[in-house]
C-alpha cells in the first residue's frame, strides 16, 4: 500500500476504518468454516463410494452425525432405491468415463426417512500420477425447484388429458360429417377411405353417397378451405345443401349452382370460405350405370376400365364453389360398364410429397396417379381403396394433409357395398 494515500485517508475518514475492520473479520473466515457451513452440501467419497468426508451443512440437512456416515456408509446408501439404480446405471458410469457429471436430480434420504430433492455435481480428483483418488460431490437443495418441476409435470399431464379429450370430441365430430357406411347400390361395389392428417383438427374433406329415387343415386366428394371447427361448420352446410339440392334439381351443374349460392351467401361477409367438389348422379341404365358429374374446381375423377387402362374424366373450367356470386360449372357423362371403376379423390393424395432424391419437395402429382391407376386396372372398388391406402401409407411424413378417396365399381362378380 502506498503510505501517502493511507496517511491522507486514515484521519479524515473514520467510516473507512470501520469498513476495513469488517472486511478483516470476513478475511478471518477460515477455509474450514467456509467448507463446513457453506450454503451447499459437500461430500467426498472413495472411488467405491465410501464416504470419507462430509460437511456440517449436509449433516444438518440429513440429520446424521458425522460418525454415522464417515467410513460407514457409501453415497448410494443415502439415495432412494430408484435413485440408487439410477446412480449405478447412469451416474457412476458417466462419472467414471467423463471424470465429472453435473446437474443431476436425485433424492437423498434423511435419517428420519424424509426425502430431500437435490441437484448433484461430482468430479473425480486425480493424484499427481493422473490416477483417480476420490470423488468430490456438491449437493444443492432443490426442494423449490422440484416442487416447481412437479407443477410442470402435473400441468403437462393435465394438458395431455385435455388433448385426449379434445381428440375424442373431434373424432366424434369428424365421424358425424361422414356417412357411417356408404349406401348400398344393387349391382355396384362401393368403398371409401379417409386419411386424417391430425387427430388435433377436424379435417376438411368430405364425401357421401345417397339414394335419390328407385334407380338414381347422388354422390359427392370434396374439400373445404381450411380445417378445424369452421371447416366442420361449412362441411355440414355443404352436405345438407347438396342432399337437399339434389332432390330438387336433376342436373349436377344446377346442384353446384345452388351450393355456390348457399356457401357464398353464408360466408362472403365476414370470412370468405370456399370448397372444391365433384357432385354426380348415378342412373341405372340396362346392365350398367350412367354417371353424370359436375366439378367445381376439383381434381378430375379417374375411370379405371374393365378391359384395362385408366383415364381422367376432365371437367374443365369449373370454378371453386363459394368464391363468386355467379359461377360456371361444367359436366361430363360416362357410362359405367362391367369391370369399370370410378375413383374420386382429394388433392391430399396428389399433393403428397414423395421426397424423391433428386427433388425432396416434389409432389406425387396427377401423372403418377394416372400411372398408378393404369397399373391397377382392371380393379374393383375394394381393390382400388386397398391399394390407395398402401400408397398413402408409403408417403409417410410426406402426407401432411387430409386425403379422401371414394371408388364406385361394377365388379365382374356382382357388387356389395363395403
Amino acid at each position: 500500500m502506498m503510505s501517502d494515500t493511507g496517511q491522507e485517508r486514515e484521519p479524515s475518514e473514520p467510516g473507512d476504518r470501520r469498513q476495513q475492520a469488517t472486511f478483516g473479520e470476513l478475511l478471518e473466515d477460515s477455509a474450514e468454516d467456509l467448507y463446513e457451513n457453506a450454503p451447499c452440501g459437500y461430500l467426498s467419497t472413495l472411488l467405491d463410494g465410501q464416504i470419507a468426508k462430509v460437511n456440517t451443512t449436509l449433516l444438518k440437512w440429513l440429520g446424521y452425525r458425522r460418525d454415522e456416515l464417515v467410513g460407514r456408509r457409501s453415497f448410494s446408501d443415502l439415495l432412494t432405491i430408484g435413485g440408487r439404480i439410477y446412480h449405478e446405471t447412469h451416474f457412476a458410469p458417466l462419472l467414471s468415463m467423463q471424470g465429472e457429471i453435473g446437474g443431476v436430480a436425485l433424492e437423498l434420504r434423511a435419517a428420519d426417512g424424509t426425502r430431500l430433492p437435490v441437484l448433484i455435481t461430482s468430479t473425480v480428483k486425480k493424484g499427481a500420477d493422473g490416477q483417480p483418488l476420490l470423488i468430490r460431490t456438491t449437493v444443492f437443495d432443490a426442494r423449490d425447484r422440484r416442487a416447481y418441476e412437479q407443477e410442470l409435470l402435473r400441468a403437462r399431464q393435465e394438458a395431455e388429458r385435455e388433448r385426449e379429450r379434445l381428440q375424442e370430441v373431434l373424432s366424434i365430430l369428424q365421424r358425424s360429417l361422414l356417412p357411417p357406411s356408404l349406401t348400398n347400390v344393387p349391382g355396384l361395389q362401393t368403398a371409401a377411405h379417409y386419411h386424417i392428417a391430425s387427430a388435433d383438427q377436424v379435417g376438411g374433406d368430405f364425401y357421401d353417397l345417397f339414394p335419390l329415387g328407385p334407380d338414381r343415386w347422388g354422390f359427392f366428394l370434396g374439400d373445404v378451405s381450411g380445417k378445424g371447427a369452421e371447416a366442420a361448420n361449412i362441411t355440414s352446410l355443404i352436405r345438407h345443401t347438396l342432399r337437399e339440392a339434389a332432390v330438387h334439381d336433376s342436373d349436377p351443374v344446377g346442384v353446384l349452382h345452388r351450393l355456390n349460392t348457399a356457401v357464398h351467401a353464408q360466408y362472403r361477409s365476414h370470412d370468405p370460405r370456399y370448397c372444391t367438389v365433384i357432385f354426380g348422379v348415378l342412373t341405372r341404365d340396362g346392365d350398367g350405370f350412367t354417371v353424370t358429374l359436375a366439378s367445381g374446381g376439383h381434381p378430375p375423377a379417374l375411370l379405371l376400365r374393365g378391359d384395362g387402362g385408366a383415364a381422367y374424366l376432365h371437367t374443365p373450367g369449373g370454378l371453386l364453389v363459394g368464391i363468386m356470386a355467379e359461377a360456371s360449372f361444367t359436366a361430363a357423362t360416362v357410362r359405367l360398364a362391367l369391370g369399370d371403376t370410378l375413383m374420386l379423390y382429394t388433392d391430399g393424395l396428389t399433393e403428397a410429397r414423395t421426397s424423391r432424391e433428386a427433388d425432396p419437395m416434389s409432389l406425387y402429382g396427377e401423372q403418377s396417379l394416372l400411372d398408378f391407376a393404369t397399373g391397377l386396372a382392371p380393379a374393383d372398388a375394394a381393390t382400388v381403396i386397398t391399394a390407395v391406402r398402401q400408397l398413402l401409407a408409403g408417403f409417410g411424413e410426406g402426407l401432411d394433409d387430409d386425403a379422401a378417396v371414394m371408388a364406385l365399381s361394377m365388379p365382374f362378380s356382382g357388387g356389395h357395398a363395403t
Binding site: 472411488l47 467405491d48 463410494g49 457409501s74 448410494s76 432412494t80 432405491i81 430408484g82 435413485g83 440408487r84 439404480i85 439410477y86 449405478e88 446405471t89 447412469h90 457412476a92 458410469p93 458417466l94 467414471s96 468415463m97 467423463q98 457429471i101 453435473g102 446437474g103 443431476v104 436430480a105 436425485l106 433424492e107 441437484l119 422440484r146 418441476e149 412437479q150 410442470l152 409435470l153
Partner: protein, 270 residues
C-alpha cells in the same frame, strides 16, 4: 433386413483380430457400448471384438425402435441373433452386462449352436423378491424407480441435451461428449426399464446348454452376491467368479480384473 441395415440399426462396431475368436460385448440398461471402452482395446489384441448399441441406446437407429418389440427382452435377444446372422458370426463368446446377461441367455437358448460361451457380468434373472427368492428389490422399489424416472428426466433432460457428433466410439473425443453416452429418450428408457426390472427369467436359466461363466462383484447394490449364487446354481455346469469390486459396472470400476476374467474364460472356449 440387410447387413448394412442391422449394422446401422445397432451401431455395430467390429474391431480386433479378424482371425480371432469372436467376443461380443453387450451393454446393459443405462448407457451404451462405451461401457466397454476400458477393456475392449485389450480384448482386441487376441479376439475379434463385436460391439453394438441396443436399439434406443447410444447411436442406434431410434427410428427402428418399436414399443411392441422392445417391451420385452425377447426383442433384444432377436437383435443379438440378427447381428450374429448378418455378420455370419459363429462360436461367439457373448459377454452380457446387467440386463444383457439375460438377453444373452434368451439368445443362447434359441440358437445354442451360435454360441461358444456365455459370460454373464453382474447378472440378475429377477430383480424383485419372491417367495424364498431374494432379488434385492420389492415391487414398490421398482415402481418407485419407474415413477422417479419421470421426474428425474426433467433434471436429466437439461444435462443430457443431445450432442450431435460423429465418433463416440473414439475415446479421445470423450471430453466433447458430455453425458451423451447415457442419453436416452425418456419414453424409450421407461420401456427398457420396465423390460429390465420387471422381467422374470429364472426358469430360463436351467435351459442354457452353453458353457457359462457367472462373473459378479462383491458389492453390487443391483445384483447382490446371493443373486449370483442363484444364477450359478441354476445354470448347469456354470463356472463362478466374484470380482473384488464395488458397484454394478466392474468393467469401469475394476477394468483390469474384469478383462482378465473375461479373457481367461474366453480362451478356454472350443
Amino acid at each position: 433386413m440387410d447387413i448394412s441395415g442391422v449394422r446401422a440399426r445397432n451401431n455395430v462396431v467390429v474391431t480386433g483380430r479378424d482371425d480371432g475368436p469372436v467376443v461380443m460385448l453387450s451393454h446393459g440398461f443405462g448407457c451404451d457400448q462405451n461401457m466397454w471402452r476400458l477393456i475392449a482395446p485389450d480384448l482386441a489384441r487376441d479376439f475379434r471384438v463385436v460391439l453394438f448399441d441396443h436399439v434406443g441406446a447410444g447411436r442406434s437407429d431410434l427410428s427402428a425402435w418399436r414399443r411392441e418389440r422392445y417391451a420385452s427382452l425377447d426383442g433384444y435377444a432377436d437383435d443379438v441373433l440378427e447381428i450374429c446372422r448378418e455378420l455370419d458370426l459363429s462360436r461367439v463368446v457373448f459377454v452380457g452386462h446387467s440386463v444383457s446377461a439375460m438377453i444373452g441367455v434368451l439368445a443362447a437358448i434359441r440358437e445354442p449352436n451360435r454360441f461358444a460361451q456365455l459370460i454373464l457380468l453382474a447378472p440378475s434373472p429377477r430383480y424383485i423378491d419372491d417367495d424364498g427368492y431374494r432379488g434385492g428389490f420389492s415391487h414398490a422399489d421398482i415402481d418407485e424407480l419407474l415413477q422417479s424416472l419421470e421426474s428425474n428426466y426433467l433434471g436429466w433432460s437439461a444435462a443430457m441435451a443431445p450432442v450431435i457428433m460423429g465418433n463416440p466410439d473414439r475415446p479421445e473425443l470423450g471430453e466433447e461428449l458430455t453425458n451423451s453416452f447415457c442419453r436416452t429418450d425418456p419414453d424409450i428408457a421407461r420401456v427398457f426399464a420396465r423390460a429390465t426390472f420387471l422381467s422374470d427369467n429364472r426358469d430360463d436359466l436351467a435351459r442354457v446348454r452353453v458353457p457359462t461363466l457367472v462373473l459378479d462383484c462383491r458389492h453390487d447394490a443391483i445384483a447382490p452376491p446371493e443373486v449370483g449364487d442363484f444364477v450359478h446354481a441354476q445354470i448347469p455346469g456354470s463356472a463362478r467368479r466374484t470380482l473384488a469390486a464395488t458397484g454394478h459396472c466392474p468393467q469401469l470400476s475394476a477394468p483390469q480384473a474384469t478383462l482378465e476374467a473375461i479373457a481367461a474364460f474366453a480362451s478356454t472356449a472350443r
